[in-house]
Symmetry: D2
Subunit: 372 residues, 4 copies
């Protein structure tokens, strides 16, 4: 495994003089859905997230190991979109720090002592320089940690919110900004020309609390929940098959190259993408080795070489500004990972050595033809 530094951005976000908040971890996603009954059924009944509380137009859900109020807040609204990527900070004062940090950047900032979400107290929401709605909070209602409540765990029990994944056009610029916020890169995808296609960044010592995927953004690529073991993820597939909802499966299951985790991608009733994820590795040392994957390594996204379905690259869901309006997308100007991984013959199979023979059983895969 090699590591290549991500180039400095041409047009960086200025680094604030104010210190960043001490972010503990990604904590919850505030997700706007267009049909609360349908989405609630998917997340609570199909995926088995625990309902902490619900009210008119909203339901708050959590994973089995969680002790804060929720990891997912569904709110009914006119469009499918993310209202906030919410992070927990170490202390109440870190909310102040977050507010000062973003105010110095002249971002839209809103502070609410009473909080923005059920069960959550004093918080600040911002639209960051990349266009994403972020929330920072410390005060939160504690609820029962159901880690030991195996009588309530289904075969595919979700035990933890693992990470977010954001689509943004200029990955080096976004990385530099997130590093200013105190995040650290653990892995990335580049090509030999130095183009950065994606990067993974963490606060808690896993591979990521959020990832930055190059594309038209700001947008939500996915939110990821963790299971204990791989068979739990397979059980979710089996359950979807039995329920005749296999169409919810977009990609996987498989083993990631990046992160080394086992994965599955689903699409919820609004098309929001949900990853089920397990078994990455500890990254908490300051000199944790960064892993750079070559964009032409066809095991980078799936360690078993299974191709990535095109929708996984091309589809993402909008984010909202602080006023609840969808944020317009900025197109990516760097090369597209999807496009560079399609050969001249129209097949998505890719490898650095163009002369390497491609097996016949790979040749029928994913010819994209004219439909893109």
């Amino acid at each position: 495994m090699s590591s290549h530094p991500i180039p400095a951005p041409a047009d960086p976000v200025p680094t604030p003089g104010a210190p960043p908040p001490d972010v503990l971890r990604c904590a919850y996603l505030d997700l706007q859905v267009t049909d609360l009954a349908a989405s609630g059924a998917f997340y609570a009944d199909v995926l088995g997230l625990v309902v902490t509380a619900e009210g008119p137009g909203w339901v708050a859900l959590r994973t089995f190991d969680e002790f804060i109020h929720h990891n997912l807040l569904l709110r009914e609204g006119p469009v499918a979109a993310t209202a906030a990527f919410a992070f927990r900070v170490r202390s109440p004062e870190d909310v102040d720090r977050a507010e000062a940090f973003y105010r110095e950047l002249d971002c839209p900032v809103e502070r609410r002592r009473e909080g923005f979400a059920p069960g959550v107290g004093d918080a600040v929401r911002v639209q960051d320089p990349l266009g994403f709605p972020y929330e920072f909070f410390h005060a939160v209602e504690h609820v029962e940690r159901l880690a030991w409540a195996y009588d309530r765990h289904g075969p595919g029990a979700l035990v933890r919110l693992d990470h977010f994944n954001q689509v943004t056009p200029d990955v080096p610029r976004a990385v530099a900004f997130m590093e200013d916020l105190g995040f650290r890169v653990t892995e990335d995808i580049q090509d030999t020309a130095g183009t950065v296609y994606a990067a993974w960044l963490r606060r808690k010592p896993t591979v990521h609390d959020t990832a930055l995927t190059g594309g038209a953004g700001p947008a939500l690529h996915h939110v990821a929940f963790a299971t204990h073991e791989k068979h739990n993820i397979l059980a979710i597939c089996d359950r979807l098959g039995a329920l005749r909802q296999s169409d919810r499966i977009e990609r996987g299951p498989g083993r990631h190259g990046v992160s080394n985790a086992f994965y599955l991608y689903l699409r919820d009733p609004d098309g929001h993408r949900v990853e089920i994820y397990t078994q990455d590795y500890y990254t908490g040392d300051p000199d944790n080795p960064v892993v750079t994957w070559d964009v032409h390594d066809n095991q980078r996204r799936d360690f078993w070489g299974n191709p990535v379905v095109p929708s996984w690259y091309t589809q993402a869901t909008p984010v909202l500004d602080l006023g609840g309006r969808p944020v317009a997308l900025t197109q990516r100007r760097d090369d597209s990972e999807l496009e560079v991984t399609i050969g001249a013959d129209g097949f998505s199979y890719t490898r650095p050595d163009e002369d390497a023979p491609m097996p016949s059983w790979k040749q029928g895969e994913y010819k994209l033809g004219h439909q893109l």
Copy 2:
């Protein structure tokens, strides 16, 4: 689950008056390979099959639970092909019965008291009316059953030969013949017009000892080995990824609809297809319910709805006649499963109800274009 009888063939193989042999189970595959070192490395070093014995130009391998000499015999030869699908019969007299059964059908038959393979005694080989080389034997050398030898089991230990899969153009005709031989159908794939695309038949009480897949035949579709658990199959994928041999993975892993087993398809150095398989169900009662799947049920081949790669339908490896010459293929005249499961728009996604909406993330999958 419903069951629809397979129609009687238009042009049946005559039913012999002689009783069929009492077949216990599929026992070993006699496989001709073009590079014994490469194939031996794949089966012994990568997949971890146990080498029982080897000699000039051959190696005999077995699974960990096996007590007969081998489940796979690799022999080097000029072309990649199957020399025999070998079945064990209950008694020495059943070898006589097999000989008489096929002689009555005027098939090519060769009886060798000394056996055709190392460790195997008195046996008969035939080229059956469908063109396949079959062997029947009882006498065989016992070897140590390594079921308890966990110090020798790798993470993807193969514990049993599970089944063969044969490509044949006329499935109802092949089924009727195999029923005369004493096999029983457990599952099949049909359409509402009664076309039969594939059938699964068993002697031992699992879903199959062999399956009949509609296509140009006679040909070997695959040979399948069983693991104890699903994670063993995932470990094989991980191992291939680590060895940078992920190109060996053709399809999967996934859950079959048919058989309910968890599966993975690999291609060996000659392109012979190998399935890794686990967890089907007991079928030993004479009134075991037959399950008929609709060819337009997109969960039939993969219960999670993941598409079948085209090569899986179109590629198979030759079989040899008793003289060691590849048998010419007969084309299938019934509808092709691959073709009927491609919509008018060129996508492989299929469902009985043409009006059902297809999610956008399925639309990029497997457009086949001009390459077939």
Copy 3:
């Protein structure tokens, strides 16, 4: 692994001239329980067996892969006891054969064309020469096989009835009789003097349909249900822990030496013992190697050397005669496995070589003192 023939019994049951029925497999246990609500809650709600039907005083349950009416019939009665070990036979005529076989032995025999149990047709019940109530039937109502109904499977889904285990004083005598009935030994436990402590016998090609455990009998040692994987068994333990019913766990989980299966023993609300079991091996060849374990091999009952709790040897539940009265026990006269595996120092740790050192961390285990 070595194999030692079981000695001929001194006082054999005569071999009938009538042919035995062709037994397919163990099919269901007719179990008398003293509190149907409590037992139903245990088997249906805690273990997750599927209720096929219920009526006043009874409930019929099945496993997820089953297609016959039930694998367990609970009936409320005055004492906790087994009313019948029921086996399915290949054809209706095999019920006649079973009747003739036992009538020739002058056993109590009752034939009921309407069956003895809900969903079961023409059947014969006998009290066999060993004192056990056996039922043989072919006609049975088909129900939906829920193998694919993963939306109904819990984390510890029971997919198959695997076997019975019967306590009987004279194991060689019982083995010889069961062989006359068409069963075949797969494994046994002996000592160097030829004392037989237990034997495993099969019809279907697994390690057993029933086992014979030496002790005061006739009695039910346990009934065993299979899961797909080992984690399913661990999930049952976790569920019992979460429900604060860990007292139901008597022994395990662990790996058996005999059978090579992964196991767990529970006790139901009446004290009936239930095993959860997974992953033994194929035994269907007529020359399948028999494995004889030395009674002093401390890995025979638990391959990891964990000691067997004394109750597992000393406790069993009664069986009923055809009139519903508990059958009196006959004491074992051969050596007791429990006693011979306790050293002179009162510890249960055993090994053939008395001089082998016992680690200090094994010395505190299972000193039995005066309580036996």
Copy 4:
């Protein structure tokens, strides 16, 4: 789950004015063994730890996810003992902080710029006020992280050093001192009188980097390595069984109540205890709920209620002072967990409600008789 604060110690270690070092995590154990060949074979060949380097009298091993030089250093010496519990700190300056912190406490302190172990740089070793030899280092040689090297992973691959466990007589005193060092309690075991039997403390956000177990100390209770999944731990048991080394298994496998992890305890050739451990939970929030278990809750140590073998409580291995001499033990004066969990009848089964009935199959377990 409830939480009860641990009482302040009667005789506290003074809190230094110097700030503690910023400890990242437990990093490696420096273990003295009496037969390097035997110990190396156990850790490298049986357990499959990766040998990073070796030299005369020593071998350095690591887990598959590790990127620092080693997690276990075996050094041959005259007695079996722990030479150092080594922790990695965030920066080089934290080594200075560690030195100052312990010098203020007048502990034996040794600073070596060249390090104490192969591959490790500037470090300080101390004998802490509880008598334990601790090392703090930052500089360390990076080695290849073999997380993706699945071709080298066995079925029981150890992927991470998880924690240490130390035996100390006065748990509240030890906890208070470790809190001064910056550790935080995640779980503990108490009785209603406030006696503290054990406590778990963390730096990295898992349940622990070290635990404090009440007993005669200072001593090493165990060192724990993590696997990805539970089946990996079962595979270690199977491997030990196959190698006829099942005597190495002291306790388990099972589910802990405390930590919710799945566990197995082994004893190495010198009797040092090694835990294999998987799947506890995230504890990184500052207000992470502490879980206090009642010493009479018989699911606290094994969530399935399986009894703890006495040796697990009574046996531990010595630690060395900075001169390499074994440190004398101080006896525990508080109640013993082993003794309070044995009933008046001599059985180890325990529960808060003395009137709760004990099932008959639990009564034979672990009667301790006279041997204590």
